[in-house]
Symmetry: C2
Subunit: 152 residues, 2 copies
């Protein structure tokens, strides 16, 4: 078995034995070395964003002192939900290895699959609405004037 | 102009004036009252997950002492990226108001639109791979035995 996935499982077990959240652990690897790890702590921290992958990203960013995890790979016990996949992309990681897929994860009661469907343009339009665009465009203009260009 | 969107813009301006990150602020409202707010701090915190909506969710969860933001609405200066939309769904919010859309946001240099495309099953399959599923299924089984059922 892959040694990094084994570490991700060990992380996940820590979380479930202590009732911190779901069975999800993740490890981030750069050049063959672990640079970050974490497990689901949604229940412990009263925070729906504390998924295993998110905690591993926080840990790796703190360890490396950057928001840019280019060249890193992530190993995670469950296929990333839309939130975690988005975080992985913002972190510039380009390789994800997962154990259980989102159908497996749905079977134990989590809504990842449903949330991918709700993220489609058609479904999203039902609950995500535009408001005061002109005022917000002025804010964007102000930002461009300050920075000259986008900086990340 | 909507008073909550105005507050979201004020939040965003705080962030850009102090060079903490992009022009993105968010406010979470429950029963007509602000219960959380935040702005993008990706640069300040060296963390790619610190988007305005995420910071507002952290703040609301801390203020209300729960990961469940049912009955809350979020007002955000830019249409949520896949990560933030996922976080909004995990938090059980069912109403999102945004100012600028993801095309506007792409024009000032951010990759939200690209990341929605990369989250489709076909695109995702290029960089997201299954590994050691059987070992991870055993972990899921262990979780179900501990909790009896999924608990969030």
């Amino acid at each position: 078995m892959n040694k990094f996935m084994e570490l991700a499982i060990i992380e996940a077990r820590k979380g479930i034995e202590n009732e911190e959240g779901g069975p999800f652990g993740a490890v981030i690897v750069k050049n063959g070395e672990v640079v970050g790890k974490g497990h689901n702590q949604v229940l412990k921290r009263h925070d729906p964003t504390c998924h295993g992958e998110m905690m591993a990203i926080h840990d790796a960013c703190e360890n490396l002192g950057t928001f840019d995890l280019s060249g890193c790979e992530i190993y995670t016990t469950g296929e990333p939900c839309p939130m975690c996949l988005g975080a992985i992309l913002w972190a510039n990681m380009d390789k994800v290895y997962y154990g259980c897929n989102i159908i497996d994860t749905a079977k134990i009661g989590f809504r990842d699959e449903q949330f991918y469907k709700m993220s489609s343009p058609q479904e999203k339009a039902k609950f995500v609405k535009e408001l005061d665009r002109d005022a917000c465009l002025k804010l964007y203009d102000r930002y461009v004037k300050i920075t000259g260009k986008a900086n990340y």
